[in-house]
Amino acid sequence: MEAGLSNASILIDLSLLTMLVIVAFVMVRSRHLFVIVLLSGIYSLLSAAFFVSLDAVDVAFTEASVGAGVSTVLMLGAMLLTVRREKPTRTGRTPIAIVVVTLVGSALIYATFDMPAYGDGASPANSYMGEVYIDRTAKEIAVPNIVTAVLASYRGFDTLGETMVIFTAGLGVILLLGAGSVRGGKAVKDVKEEGQE
């Protein structure tokens, strides 16, 4: 039973990762921006499913709502302001590129041999601070979800900074796209059009 379950989960992981790679390749090859935006949503949803299979439900939830949900819609909104197709670029295939990619790729794969096995209790992520949080959350914070305890209480100051970042991002978009401008947030017409009127 135990072996059957782990085989099934390996199969699920492998198929999710394969789909991620396929989606990434199609995104790189495609020149149609609408397709690319939708594929990036699919990519986020697939990685959210992958995070669920790794038992990181909080991360999966964030990825599904932010990555697959809101950022896809925002990208669609941004895409409507520009052309639908990427300009075709004729880049000659340079041999130096494939050499660099191969070198970096093999270095990364070589580095994974040193990584701790998945679920290893003695890995750096699970010992030290991770262990401290698991030990102390029940006593000090008394909330069942350790992720929330770390996010809102132990690292409350970090989260305050993150909220500030989001607020600043919103502020930047307002300033750039002009809700606070002298136009008072009215639709911005092209300069040429205004000149003709």
């Binding site: 000090e140 909330v143 809102a152 409350g156 909220t163 919103g170 978009v173 639709a187």
Partner: protein
């Protein structure tokens, strides 16, 4: 009056309240299950973004005007920071929630503090997301039919 995208309009009318309800569940259930202010804020914003996509931006702006969003963006962040200042005034550290209820034997102060800051996060995130969407979508009123 022509009614475009009739099915989508009916669906969003049915889905709008459940989406908000789910966002509130995620918001206030964050310390027991997955979720919290960030996710809840985004889901809350998605309800309004869907509404704007289908009913048109002007219709949504009547419900949730830009001015209100600006206030909510600032209020959310100040709510979070204010919780931190409040714990300091109560004699604890910045964001040291135990100061809220020092006599509690089961860290009720931590629960209150986490709920308060998550509420601030949710408010700031949802209003910022809707605001960013307004800014992008406000430049071109509707998605043309051939783009679907």
């Amino acid at each position: 009056m022509s009614i475009e995208h009739l099915i989508l309009r009916v669906v969003i009318k049915i889905m709008f309240a459940p989406i908000l309800l789910f966002a509130l569940y995620v918001q206030f259930h964050g310390d027991f299950g997955p979720g919290g202010g960030f996710q809840a804020g985004v889901i809350f914003a998605v309800a309004f973004i869907l509404h704007a996509l289908i009913m048109g931006l002007d219709e949504t702006k009547r419900v949730l005007p830009v001015g209100a969003l600006k206030v909510l963006m600032v209020a959310g962040f100040l709510f979070y920071a204010g919780t931190g200042v409040a714990t300091m005034l109560l004699g604890g550290n910045l964001l040291g929630y135990d100061a809220i209820d020092p006599a509690s034997t089961h860290h009720a102060g931590q629960h209150y503090g986490i709920l308060l800051v998550e509420f601030g996060v949710g408010m700031a995130v949802s209003s910022t997301m809707v605001m960013i969407f307004y800014q992008f979508a406000g430049r071109e009123p509707e998605i043309r039919d051939e783009d679907w």
